[in-house]
Amino acid sequence: MSTHHSEDRLASLRGPLAPEPCTARGITALTANPGCSRRAVLDAAGVDKATLAARLGRPAGFGQSPFALARGRAFEAMVKADGYAELLTLLREHLDIPVTEVAVADLGEVGGSTSPGLRARETEHLLDRLAAGVEERLLLDHPVLPLEVAGRTAFLEPDAVAHRVAGRFHVVEIKSFAVIDGQADPAKTAEAAKQAAVYIIALRRLLERLGHDPALVAPEFLLICPKDFSQRPVPALIDVRQEIEAIGFQLSRLRRADDLARPLPADATLDLSVREDGTPARTDTELTATVAALDTHYTPDCPGYCDLARHCRAEAVEAARPERLGGRVRDDLPGIDSTRTALRLIDSPGDEGEPVDPDSAEVVERLRAAARLYDLRRPPAPHRPCAPTDTTAGRGVG
């Protein structure tokens, strides 16, 4: 079968190490930058990007802060402590859940095993029975939902799924950023909403596969955050219809990772394993060559969610690609693949310079207009020769 074949290809790229698990955070990153084949292949092959970045000579900054992670875990544990006491109270007080509804299922472990595969099956079984109305559970703690991403099954783990809130399934996300005076950090809320949208899509697809109505999953999720400067949790129902649409569309557009990996040469490798004597199994040069063979699509947002971003940025700077200045600059320079070209076009006056390609005539016209405006607004200063630096390239879009 072709899927098995492609898994083999991706697995052989990864080498003997165990694959890194795919997370909702990773999927939102993938959908945020769907054009990046490099990330798609690395994620599908389950390569540890942080280690890879270090091997390529540009280690990721700090990664996720251990303090933030610990705080997140502690807050979640607190909300779920004492038989989900706080969570039940929130549901009762804010969502009018009757006091009789207290049945829960802890899917964090099945028969003493934490294997995601087992937990996914147990989740599936239970969801099937819940949707059919055979069983009743108010809360599913840490269910595991499978989701096909770029031709590979990822196991996702929402903090909880609440059933029977207005008769529908609701994804519950417990986040430790504070809601102060009714306001939460918009960027963090947006990130949580994207994650929840991924979970909702996974849950809907699973129900559909089991022969139930996907509309049983509510298009809104329950966000639980600490209130003000206390540890008291406070809930909010957030509508994520837009995110579901957007991420669903991006997911459908993600090219299959094996298609992307196919053009790689036969000796390509992303093997990060270390031999018994402590020397790496593959040289850094081999890794660099393979990574370079994968198309990248660097944007200034990348460092926010990708460990490999510093490597890609260095590449983009070296090639003077307009993307590194952001999507707007790239969109303003269609057909021009380097900021150096753009600067040359500005500096060579129209009639006497190199002949302008008719396709890019409009762009060149706009570039020169922008440059004129920029020069007019600039205080008089000795003329500087134009070098391909960030600031001068920036004036292209004025």
Partner: protein, 272 residues
């Protein structure tokens, strides 16, 4: 917990057993600690002083050199009356007895107890054992129970986490009520715990008491009992059927410490 002349002797026997285990397990730090403690217990004069002073828990300051974690855990479990997590056991012990138990010390307790049971059977009962899931009888993550509780009490069904929490709330509130009735006052930690719990039980506050009053233990007891009655029918049925099945299928040691964990035969990537 009545102090008597029997207590030091029983305690010494218990310490000796722990010492044997520690030596067998090559845990030198534990062995040293237990040896020191054993010496303290076995010194007759010391024992006499203990018996003479012996109010409350029957311990003097000198005797409190890190006793095995098993006793405090057992004491907290007896008070709570239902399976509980290490963190709660630690808090409860700190609030109602002398000091909190370090949760890290509780972590290995269940395995130690299982080993001890395998070596000596029921001679050291009651053991600190596991609560079991109602479907597969696996030990529930992070919950400890007592082996002399009936199996029904150690089964955690879908409603189990809530009903057990209500049992905890009820028993702790009743203890505070009794302390007050006897003319004492509860510790600040106990009051804080009760206040936290009262927020999660409907009907535990009167509206005329204002927004954030100290909970009335009497009212909390009745509120917890009232909610527990709502769940009792379904929950008891789950517990009874599961316990009957477990008695049928599992040997005694598995009934106490839970069925062996499931193992994945096929690798995860092979799943359909």
């Amino acid at each position: 917990m009545t102090p008597s002349s029997e207590e030091p002797r029983a305690r010494a026997a218990e310490l000796r057993a722990v010492l044997r285990e520690a030596i067998r397990d090559r845990d030198r730090a534990l062995a040293d600690r237990v040896r020191r403690e054993l010496r303290a217990v076995e010194t007759p004069r010391r024992a006499g002083v203990d018996a003479a002073v012996g109010g409350g828990t029957g311990r003097t300051a000198g005797d409190r050199r890190r006793p095995p974690v098993r006793d405090p855990v057992r004491r907290a479990l007896v008070l709570l009356g239902a399976p509980a997590a290490p963190k709660l056991l630690s808090t409860v012990h700190g609030a109602f007895f002398d000091e909190p138990i370090a949760p890290s010390r509780i972590a290995s307790l269940r395995r130690d107890e299982e080993r001890s049971f395998a070596a000596k059977g029921l001679t050291r009962a009651p053991y600190v054992c596991a609560a079991l899931t109602h479907d597969r009888f696996a030990p529930v993550r992070g919950l400890l129970a007592l082996s002399d509780w009936p199996l029904e009490r150690r089964i955690i069904g879908p409603l189990g986490p809530r009903t057990d929490h209500l049992t905890h709330v009820r028993n702790l509130a009743a203890r505070v009520r009794d302390t007050r009735a006897a003319g004492g006052t509860e510790s600040p930690a106990a009051a804080a715990l009760l206040r936290r719990f009262a927020l999660t039980v409907p009907g535990s506050h009167r509206t005329e008491d204002g927004p954030d009053p100290d909970p009335d233990p009497e009212l909390l007891v009745s509120a917890a009992e009232a909610e527990a009655r709502l769940h009792a029918g379904v929950d008891d049925r789950h517990r009874r059927t599961a316990a009957a099945r477990a008695r049928d299928r599992l040997p005694l040691d598995r009934q106490l410490f839970g069925a062996a964990p499931m193992r994945v035969i096929r690798s995860v990537t092979d799943l359909p």
